[in-house]
């Protein structure tokens, strides 16, 4: 199929798709309309369980089973990356040379690393109160560690990042989500049902029953998954070289 012919097919299909999508847009409920039946019910259910952040309540309570699916996709994607980016037999590792980074940049990295880490943990811990949660905070905490690569060199990052520990943490966090779900079954209700713990006082750290626990599990899962993921990419980009002459 020639390039020109392919572009013609694309233009034809794209025009048809565009026409259909635009027609569909005019049939959607108008932007900013007042009718959100599911939203209103979700808010009521969340307030009944004393979870201040309704989005967290939807994610980790009302639709916790869906989040389990999302977490498995995340876990599988990271597993796929680890398998795809492993060191092949015809490759060897090269120690990267230590690099000279301007002093202000290095100092900035060392100062902001703990601040970013605390910010990430704050976002995780307050997931059921203020905007945030395990997904967001996990990414922030994991990114914080990589300031060491940006502000110094890859060797420095490797010294504070035992990759095996993060791989184990990743699996443990995924398991703990499942175990919390199964605890519901053992307690006599349903999988991932939020009936195990008392709902607590509204707008405090311990409110919302199992929501904070599931939130923390997702936070650990995401943080260690991102660290493992970036470790593979950094290995490939910085360390692993192909054998010369292969």
């Amino acid at each position: 199929m020639s390039r020109f012919f392919r572009l013609r097919v694309l233009a034809f299909g794209g025009a048809g798709l565009a026409a259909l999508l635009v027609a569909a847009c005019f049939d959607l409920p108008g932007f900013g309309g007042g009718s959100h039946p599911y939203g209103d019910r979700a808010v009521r259910a969340s307030l009944a369980r004393r979870t201040a952040n309704v989005i967290s309540s939807v994610n980790f309570d009302q639709r916790a089973y869906d989040t389990l699916g999302e977490m498995s996709i995340l876990f599988a994607a990271v597993l796929g990356c680890v398998v795809l980016l492993r060191q092949n037999r015809d490759e060897h590792r090269d120690r990267p040379e230590p690099t000279e980074v301007a002093l202000p940049v290095r100092r900035y990295a060392l100062l902001v690393l703990p601040v970013a880490l605390v910010t990430g943990l704050y976002v995780i811990a307050h997931g059921q109160l203020s905007p945030g949660g395990g997904f967001q905070g996990g990414v922030v905490a994991a990114t914080a560690l990589h300031l060491l690569y940006l502000g110094a060199d890859y060797g420095a990052l490797e010294r504070v990042r035992p990759i095996g520990v993060f791989e184990v943490t990743d699996s443990l966090a995924a398991c703990s989500y499942l175990v919390l779900g199964l605890a519901g079954v053992l307690a006599g209700t349903a999988f991932l049902a939020n009936t195990l713990l008392p709902y607590g006082t509204f707008n405090t750290l311990s409110s919302g029953g199992t929501v904070p626990l599931l939130n923390a599990a997702i936070g650990m899962e995401v943080a260690s998954a991102v660290v493992v993921l970036l470790a593979r990419f950094l290995d490939q980009a910085v360390e692993i070289e192909e054998e010369k002459g292969s």
Partner: protein, 150 residues
């Protein structure tokens, strides 16, 4: 619509629009500078929006961006260091202008918030943002000279 949201709209339309144009065209050195400046413009407008909607919880967005935005610029400064050796990406006039805008926004918000925990939080965000912006500018204008293999 109140004055805070109007200010955020103007800042977005002017500053972020310019940054988008700068990042989409021109030599690489100009693009990375525009990327760096977009962080401060967007962070300032997020803080303004938080005040405009009267939701202190939205300040977390500004906090996150103030922490991670400069990190993103450092990524580019580090991994494009070889391409940036030929033409230094230095635009200190522009950098100081945005720093001034950020400082003005933070001070105005602090005055509106009044003394208390919210004000300290805004000051922390402002310090992280301005410090990060200056360090990222420094990194772009030759902060990673010796970086070859790493």
């Amino acid at each position: 619509m109140n004055g805070w949201i109007l200010a955020a709209t103007v800042l977005l339309a002017g500053g972020a629009g310019t940054a988008l144009w700068g990042v989409a065209t021109g030599p690489l050195s100009r693009r990375v500078v525009a990327q760096n400046l977009s962080t401060s413009v967007v962070c300032a407008s997020l803080l303004l929006l938080a005040q405009g909607y009267d939701r202190t919880a939205y300040v977390d967005l500004g906090l996150l961006l103030a922490v991670l935005g400069p990190v993103g610029t450092l990524v580019f400064a580090r991994l494009l260091a070889e391409d940036l050796t030929d033409d230094r990406a230095a635009a200190w006039g522009l950098t100081w202008t945005t720093v001034g805008v950020d400082a003005a926004v933070v001070v105005a918000l602090c005055v509106a918030a009044g003394p208390g925990r919210a004000m300290v939080k805004l000051l922390v965000v402002g310090a992280l943002l301005i410090g990060g912006n200056l360090v990222a500018s420094r990194a772009l204008s030759g902060g990673f000279q010796g970086v070859r293999g790493g």
